[in-house]
């Protein structure tokens, strides 16, 4: 709680300093608008513009992330239980972690068109890898002593998964999900940068082309809020899952 207070005060301090400096040095709005000017963007016509463009970005981010989470859990589970699946997939998952996936974004547009599906697929693609790799590591890392204990009391394979492996991997899973959530929003914005007629990524490009820096900044603020919101949902889900397991 105290940490939050200090961080909050620091943020307010930075905003005040930022505001003061833009006035003191007469920094042009085009280069760096003052926080108050950016805040003003949320009212009136530009406010409506921001809201209209937030919705598609949010829907694509959340759906891409949800698909990645589902796919990641299924693939990681399959990798723990099937040697063939693991030996086939694992080297490629690692390889894909290494290559700059953003470079593949134009291909998704080529394959899936300029609509929702290309951005959805690209967000899923971006967000899938950290989730599957984290969860596979977690499921494999479950303490062998605990697995043996469960087996010794007559635990079936399914029980060893649900009672031991999965609860031990929950921490890993959510670490992967937190990265995956960020990756999903990056994937959607990249997609919107390439081809889109709406969304916050599109709005940023459009406002930049019109030298409307306050609107660019306002859109970035909304993206941050969106990212934090999804992150918050993941944290909330983590608490709920932990409470379920804590309840035995």
């Amino acid at each position: 709680m105290r940490d939050n207070t200090i961080a909050g005060l620091a943020a307010i301090g930075v905003l005040i300093l930022w505001e003061a400096l833009t006035y003191a040095f007469q920094i042009p709005e085009l280069m760096l608008p003052a926080p108050s000017v950016i805040a003003g963007e949320f009212a009136g016509e530009s406010g409506r513009l921001i809201l209209a463009n937030t919705w598609p970005t949010a829907v694509q981010t959340v759906s891409g992330f949800a698909a990645a989470a589902l796919l990641g859990i299924v693939v990681a589970t399959a990798m723990v239980y099937s040697d063939i699946v693991r030996e086939t997939l694992y080297p490629y998952l690692v390889a894909f972690q290494v290559i700059p996936k953003i470079a593949l974004a134009p291909l998704f547009v080529l394959w899936l068109g300029i609509g929702f599906w290309s951005r959805f697929a690209f967000a899923t693609f971006m967000s899938f890898f950290p989730i599957v790799i984290a969860l596979a590591a977690g499921l494999k890392d479950a303490r062998p002593e605990a697995v043996r204990m469960c087996a010794a009391f007559g635990g079936t394979k399914a029980q060893i998964f649900s009672q031991i492996r999965f609860p031990y991997a929950v921490g890993y899973l959510f670490a992967g999900l937190k990265i995956g959530a960020t990756m999903s929003i990056i994937g959607v914005v990249i997609g919107e940068f390439i081809t889109a007629d709406r969304g916050l990524g599109y709005l940023i490009l459009w406002a930049t082309s019109r030298s409307d820096t306050p609107l660019v900044m306002a859109a970035i603020v909304v993206l941050c809020a969106l990212g934090l919101g999804i992150y918050g949902l993941v944290v909330l889900a983590e608490r709920m899952v932990n409470r379920v397991y804590a309840g035995g």
């Binding site: 303490r143 002593e145 605990a146 043996r148 204990m149 469960c150 087996a151 010794a152 009391f153 007559g154 635990g155 029980q159 009672q163 031991i164 609860p167 932990n242 397991y245 804590a246 035995g248």
Partner: protein, 264 residues
Amino acid sequence: MSGSVAQLAEASEPYLAVESVQKVYNAGTSHELEAVSDVSFGVPSGQFLSILGPSGCGKSTLLMMAGGLEQPTRGAVRIAGAPVTGPRRSTGIMFQDPTLLPWKTVLENVLFPIRIQRLPLKDYHQRAHELLAMVGLGDFANKKPHQLSGGMKQRAAICRALITDPDLLLMDEPFSALDALTRDELNDALLDIWQRTRKTGIFITHSIREAVFLSDRVIVMDRRPSRIVDDIPIPFPRPRSMAIQDSKEFVDICAHLRGKIAHA
């Protein structure tokens, strides 16, 4: 001394029988390792047997085979006449590591075998509380494992092993990671529990004193080839107290076993 063991074994049909058991890991490869070679012994019902030996003598492997977690390469382990082919419900087991699940409370950990065996949990609450009270954890039922000391965790693991009221209790060096004082306390607690429940028990240890103090009988194993080098009864009547450890007889038995291990 070995003569009296033979009589003891003949006197009652062994409840647990280890019959010419051999265990080879990675058979047929360059990493082939013979963990147990041709070991036979029987444990009568209600007997507390300790298996003593240096690390690598295959004593833990033997226990895992009795628990159904490993299969012998040759021979068989039988419990009440039936060969052990997998974990059985009426075997309780304790490991060197307490392996309490950190997200569960002490009570839920004790009830874990009940959950795994899909028995009605609420029928066992009373028993779980009684067991916890018996090992001095009555006030810790709703604590999480991280709030417990090492000794307390192992006490909870004793309760977990006993929750199904098993007829056989297997213990794989359960106290070896504890400090000497805590270990004495837990030996005392285990003796007390044994006094009340009288199950058949197999206790793996490399502490001579612990083996003699707890057991009705001690088997000494050697490593490579892993075989039984001694098998002696421990004559002290029960209930036992710490005081017997200072008696000449106790010290003599320990010295005898130490000689066996040294020459093993």
